[in-house]
């Protein structure tokens, strides 16, 4: 937010963090990526019977630029992987990813040359949902887990490589201080 740079880790900024996290977790805008049968369960999850509006995530956006939660619902082939990654890259930070179903999480029953054996090979995933396909309740549970994660302030919104680079920079800074 910029405030933390001016004020540091004081009581004021940590309280603001908590309030912002509370706002964020209750208005997640999902980007539905229903690329096979899991998509049907994802639609049920948005419909009145399961009613994701109770958790503030009913605004399904078909433009990645307006979304902050990517639900990958279905078998991801190698050819589709590029598309999934492109959609993820277009989403503004902070963003979270749900890998819905067995195929997305691990390739599932498609142990073949054409299917990526788990989307975590090219995307940072926050929550994996088991099932083939998972029940809408299961997806709601995943959403609640994402909300808890946001509230804890442990959002891993940046890709792993960026985190590694940051750690390296911090390490260099520490070493620089020691040298001085």
């Amino acid at each position: 937010m910029g405030l933390e740079h001016a004020l540091g880790d004081t009581a004021l900024t940590t309280t603001i963090d908590s309030a912002i996290n509370w706002c964020r977790k209750n208005s997640l805008w999902p980007m539905p990526l229903g690329i096979s049968c899991c998509g049907i369960e994802m639609m049920a999850f948005a419909m009145p019977r399961f009613d994701v509006a109770r958790f503030g995530a009913e605004v399904f956006r078909f433009s990645p630029r307006q979304a902050d939660l990517l639900i990958v619902a279905g078998t991801t082939t190698y050819k589709m992987a590029t598309v999934v990654r492109k959609i993820y890259d277009q989403m503004p930070d902070p963003k979270w990813v749900i890998a819905m179903g067995a195929c997305t999480s691990s390739g599932g029953m498609y142990r073949t040359y054409s299917v990526v054996q788990g989307i975590d090979q090219f995307l940072p995933v926050d929550v994996y949902v088991a099932g083939c396909p998972p029940r809408p309740d299961n997806l709601l549970h995943a959403l609640i887990m994402i909300q808890e994660k946001i509230q804890r302030g442990e959002s891993r919104s940046t890709p792993m490589t960026v985190t590694a680079e940051r750690q390296e920079q911090q390490l260099l800074q520490i070493q620089g201080i020691n040298n001085n």
């Binding site: 040359y113 054409s114 090979q121 090219f122 792993m160």
Partner: protein, 160 residues
């Protein structure tokens, strides 16, 4: 009736017909590779054959030293409601065979699919590109010597 179809084919193309098989009521005719377009044109245009619908073109890999690949044409007649299956053999040393898109334009995509999966090259095809696999993919997945989990790193994944 199919018996008249077979009789007519034997009459007109005695040198092109290699074999006629029947299994569980399905008739398969093995045809000489070079004459497939002539046979198909006859089957489409003849009054009592009238195979005006090419329902599928597919391939098969016998993994044999000779005549390794087969190209199979499943034909259907919308007027007489009868079906027939044609088969040609393609050797590994010469993967070319004539395209039938001049007879049935609908054979365009099935032939592309056969090319994508088996690497059989259809001469005369106007758009012989990959169908399912990425353009730069080098292998043919439905061949028997292709590993089921694919060749590692043959399809690039986006960077994490």
């Amino acid at each position: 009736m199919l018996t008249t179809v077979i009789e007519k084919l034997k009459l007109h193309f005695s040198n092109s017909i290699l074999d006629v098989r029947e299994f569980r009521g399905e008739t398969t005719i093995c045809v000489n590779k070079a004459d497939i377009v002539k046979v198909c044109t006859f089957l489409r245009d003849d009054e009592s054959c009238s195979f005006n619908y090419c329902s599928d073109v597919c391939g098969a890999d016998a993994y044999a030293p000779e005549n390794r690949f087969e190209v199979i044409y499943n034909l259907y007649s919308l007027s007489y409601k009868h079906r027939i299956r044609l088969k040609i053999f393609v050797d590994e040393s010469d993967l070319h065979c004539p395209s039938v898109i001049s007879v049935w334009p609908g054979a365009n995509w099935p032939e592309r699919e056969t090319y994508d999966m088996f690497g059989i090259i259809f001469d005369g095809h106007n758009d012989l590109r990959r169908m399912y696999m990425p353009e730069e993919f080098e292998y043919f997945p439905l061949r028997k010597d292709f590993p089921m989990m694919g060749v590692p790193d043959s399809i690039p994944l986006p960077r994490k």
